[in-house]
């Protein structure tokens, strides 16, 4: 009996270290902030840091736990951002701002989840690099269409166009909701560091509790050996979809947080393009595939490094690229890994917890 109680305790203990780390980071930032040490630039980074950390959690669910590669997660974030911003803009002052924001986040998550499910049904039977390219394609399509669409509302209902906002709605009563490449303006700035941290904790609870459950074991069994999983009666499609949809929901949360931190929300490549999806993937791989804590640390470090390198002015992004390559070489090269293990170097950041499924057997 003792060992069984210990099992639940052990995984929970490890999870609580992760939650504790997030809370400690929050407290430290609050203290630094009250001491006036944080520059405006860093203050401005706090919410984006939470967004990226949440995206790292979201993508880790697909890459680390399900063992499939997705390069389209910025697309789900984009859906969450636009749905939540539309909602907040429509409600405006008609609701207390906190309640409005909570509903906006939930809506962002739900709609992103619906997209994840709808995309997942056809594509999850592809695997490996084919799945990766299809998710990339979906991410680009979502971004591209939102960037091109004009949506307006008036007494006669919703209207959409792909060409222009002209005459889309009745003059007087009509409002343009999404103004093509100009996107959505005037979203209330509801996001704060506190809400960002809380949302990160919620995302972590979803991801970690799922991982340590019956569903999570089924998902990981598919990652480790899908033929064996089928042979013990695991419904592959169902559990792939569960992981993919929940991951999209979490990405939608991140999108909502992101949207309510911006005066103007546009679906540009810099915000929701494949480059962003790739950046999230970098967080996950560098943090240790399947290691949620490591992914969050990597997200924070890789977002802060360019800021900390500001004194290098023009050279900073170049140095950043070099740091990324060197970190990958050190943490993944078989020889250097053996060296680190022998000398007990490298913390959690460099520890590879799980490998994503692709290696052939």
């Amino acid at each position: 009996m003792k060992e069984r109680a210990a099992l639940i305790d052990r995984t929970s203990r490890n999870d609580f270290v992760t939650y504790g780390m997030v809370i400690a980071a929050f407290v430290i930032v609050q203290i630094l902030s009250s001491m006036g040490v944080l520059t405006n630039q860093l203050q401005g980074l706090l919410v984006p840091l939470c967004v990226y950390a949440i995206m790292a959690v979201s993508l880790n669910l697909v890459v680390g736990i399900l063992g499939e590669l997705s390069i389209g997660h910025a697309g789900f974030m984009c859906v969450g951002a636009f749905v939540s911003a539309l909602f907040s803009n429509q409600v405006g002052g008609g609701m207390p701002s906190l309640l409005r924001f909570i509903i906006a986040i939930l809506l962002g998550g739900i709609f992103a989840g619906i997209f994840g499910f709808l995309i997942g049904v056809p594509v999850l039977r592809l695997n490996g690099d084919y799945l990766a390219i299809v998710t990339l394609a979906f991410g680009e399509i979502i971004k591209n269409i939102i960037n091109a669409v004009y949506i307006g509302i008036d007494g006669r209902g919703l209207h959409a166009s792909l060409t222009s906002a002209n005459k889309l709605v009745d003059a007087g009563t009509g409002v343009i909701l999404i103004n093509g490449p100009q996107g959505i303006t005037g979203t209330p700035r509801d996001s704060s560091f506190l809400i960002g941290i809380l949302l990160l904790l919620v995302s972590l609870v979803i991801a970690l509790n799922l991982t340590h459950s019956r569903d999570g074991r089924a998902i990981m069994s598919i990652r480790d050996n899908h033929i064996a999983a089928e042979s013990v009666g695991i419904n592959i499609t169902k559990y792939k979809l569960t992981a993919f949809t929940l991951s999209a929901v979490i990405a939608g949360f991140a999108g909502a947080l992101y949207a309510h931190n911006l005066a103007t929300l546009t679906a540009t490549s810099a915000r929701f393009g494949y480059n962003m999806s790739i950046m999230f993937l970098v967080f996950v791989v560098l943090g240790g595939i399947g290691n949620f804590r490591g992914g969050i640390i990597a997200a924070v470090l890789l977002t802060l490094i360019p800021e900390l390198l500001r004194f290098l002015s023009n050279y900073r992004m170049l140095i950043y690229a070099i740091i990324l390559i060197v970190m990958m070489l050190i943490s993944w090269n078989p020889a250097s890994r053996a060296f680190m293990e022998k000398h007990r170097l490298g913390g959690h950041l460099f520890k590879k917890k799980n490998t994503a499924g692709k290696e052939g057997e």
């Binding site: 084919y130 394609a137 490449p181 480059n275 390559i325 692709k358 290696e359």
Partner: protein, 295 residues
């Protein structure tokens, strides 16, 4: 009808540039089993190299192109040796994928430092006399003809190289079974290096053609064509050279037609949409082999 055929030819011409890039992607994938995300940025480096030599230094066009090819070839080999080779046995294909992304950042930001972020206007390598040609009722750009011919010649050379020469056969062997190839005495390392060299040289040619087609040159010029060529390679069945060729051409045509007849803004969405439909119908692409997992 005349506009349709002109559009078709423009699509074919952009498509043949995609095809040249896609072949580089597909060869590297087939042999090194990695997605070289930096491939698109090698196109950019090739374009800048040609631009500097031809427009700034006044080197004759053929020499400028040759120089650009040599620079990219060396760059490709260096990248492979420094950034990819140490991770070849890392156990996860994701590790080397992320490193490739790092290399892509490096090349883009390096170009930003050296050449600045403002757009350079590339002078077409096509002589002014054949910039546009009137063939019957059709007005055709010289670059369109040159691109299509170049891609056909390159594919011909490559197919002969792979089918008829020892290094080419070694490449084929490595793409099928690396371990078995090395047991047969083939140097896998050299073969992979050779593949990167060829792929990068082709990227340089693609860069010159692309910038002659649309002259705006910036440090991120290669990124989107790189991604599109990658989708073209997947579309044709990744690892297959004829597949990459067909994939590139089809992608170019779809893109051009949807730009002209549907909407400039959503043409990318349409291109990617077609890719998704093809993959859902044929999960390993047009020419991809289905590998049945042995139980």
């Amino acid at each position: 009808m005349v506009t349709f055929i002109e559009n078709l030819i423009n699509g074919l011409s952009m498509g043949s540039i995609y095809a040249i890039i896609a072949i580089g992607y597909t060869m590297v994938y087939g042999i090194a089993k990695m997605l070289n995300f930096a491939h698109g940025d090698i196109i950019m480096v090739g374009s800048y190299a040609a631009f500097i030599m031809i427009s700034t230094l006044g080197v004759p066009v053929p020499l400028g192109i040759l120089g650009s090819v040599i620079i990219c070839l060396c760059l490709g080999i260096m990248i492979e040796k420094i950034a990819y080779k140490p991770l070849r046995n890392a156990g996860s294909p994701l590790a080397v994928l992320i490193t490739a992304i790092g290399v892509s950042y490096f090349l883009q930001n390096g170009a930003m430092l050296v050449f600045g972020s403002n757009t350079k206007s590339f002078t077409s390598v096509i002589p002014a006399s054949i910039q546009t040609m009137q063939i019957g009722p059709f007005q055709i750009k010289g670059i369109a003809v040159v691109s299509i011919l170049t891609s056909l010649i390159l594919v011909g050379i490559l197919q002969t190289f792979i089918g008829r020469t020892r290094p080419g056969q070694a490449m084929l062997a490595c793409s099928q079974d690396r371990a078995a190839a090395s047991l047969m005495g083939i140097s896998v390392n050299n073969t992979i290096t050779l593949t990167f060299a060829i792929g990068s040289a082709m990227a340089a040619i693609a860069g010159v053609l692309m910038c002659s087609y649309s002259p705006a040159l910036t440090p991120t010029t290669g990124a989107m064509p790189g991604i599109k060529a990658f989708t073209a390679a997947v579309f044709g069945g990744i690892g297959s050279i004829p597949g990459a060729m067909v994939g590139g051409l089809v992608l170019g045509i779809i893109e051009q037609l949807s730009k002209y007849y549907i909407s400039q803004q959503v043409s990318d969405a349409i291109v990617f949409g077609v890719l998704i439909i093809i993959l859902l119908v044929k999960p390993t692409g047009l020419f991809g082999k289905v590998i049945q997992e042995k139980v």
